[in-house]
């Protein structure tokens, strides 16, 4: 399966969840996951989602400009790099953002295991199988 297509599908899924149902992002992280958010370091799925759901805005809309991915590591890890805009409710100007993800293996990105900002639930798997 094409890594670029898988990465794009992951990115779409991640930001769709972020914008529509932020709490569900918990499924994409594990206890070993790490998030660095504007310099603040957070570890573990629960703490990460607590951070993401307590951001000072309720509604947002991510629009993605670029997605780059590269295989990384002997175990078949993947790096995914995203840039785009974040539109907040009531704000005239969108915020530019960049975000990087890493997961331990390409299979994990597909199959719901170990990931940093990785990929996770059955919806993703079902979606990816269609690709």
């Amino acid at each position: 399966m094409d890594p670029d297509a898988v990465s794009k599908a992951f990115v779409e899924h991640y930001y769709t969840l972020f914008d529509a149902n932020r709490g569900a992002l918990a499924n994409l992280y594990q206890e070993t996951s790490m998030l660095t958010f504007e310099g603040q370091k957070i570890q573990g799925s629960q703490s990460i989602v607590a951070k993401l759901t307590s951001l000072p805005f309720q509604q947002c809309q991510h629009s993605i400009t670029t997605v780059d991915c590269q295989p990384s590591g002997p175990a078949g890890g993947m790096l995914v790099f995203v840039s785009g805009n974040l539109q907040l409710a009531g704000e005239q100007h969108a915020l530019k953002f960049s975000q990087g993800f890493r997961c331990d293996s390409f299979a994990d990105l597909l199959l719901n295991r170990r990931a940093i900002g990785g990929c996770g639930d059955l919806i993703v798997v079902a979606f990816l199988l269609v690709l």
Binding site: K41, T66, Q70, G73, S83, K96, G100, R102, I116
Partner: protein, 125 residues
């Protein structure tokens, strides 16, 4: 491990952009045959091709100004993911170009690190 990742990340970033701005050809020493660069969406493989690309960019002089450096340990084997944001100053250009770049550093048997992955994007707008 996290503190070490931060230290390595900062030292690497200082070194990398100093070389980029003063002696770009020597950046090749930071890559290996297995290394990858995605430069504005273009994929390059191996130290030789990566170095050629970096040396053929359409500007000779430049200066990187670093805004943020974030690092995370990437695996028990000692890899480190480094995420950089900053701006790029080109001679004769009034406005700086914003960029983001992500590196995956892998330890070498000699106790240093090489760049396994490098993804570079300008942030337009």
């Amino acid at each position: 491990m996290e503190e070490q990742a931060e230290m390595v990340g900062r030292a690497f970033v200082d070194h990398y952009y100093h070389l980029f701005d003063t002696d770009r050809a020597s950046l090749s020493s930071l890559y290996q045959p297995s290394s990858m660069l995605s430069f504005e969406g273009q994929k390059l493989f191996g130290a030789n091709d990566i170095s050629s690309k970096l040396n053929q960019l359409p500007f000779d002089q430049c200066k990187h100004l670093i805004s943020t450096i974030d690092s995370q340990p990437s695996s028990p084997s000692g890899g480190i993911v480094v995420f950089v944001s900053g701006s790029l100053e080109l001679p004769g250009e009034e406005h700086h170009l914003r960029f983001s770049q992500m590196f995956h550093l892998i330890p070498t048997p000699e106790g240093t690190f090489f760049v396994q992955n490098d993804i570079f994007r300008l942030n337009y707008g």
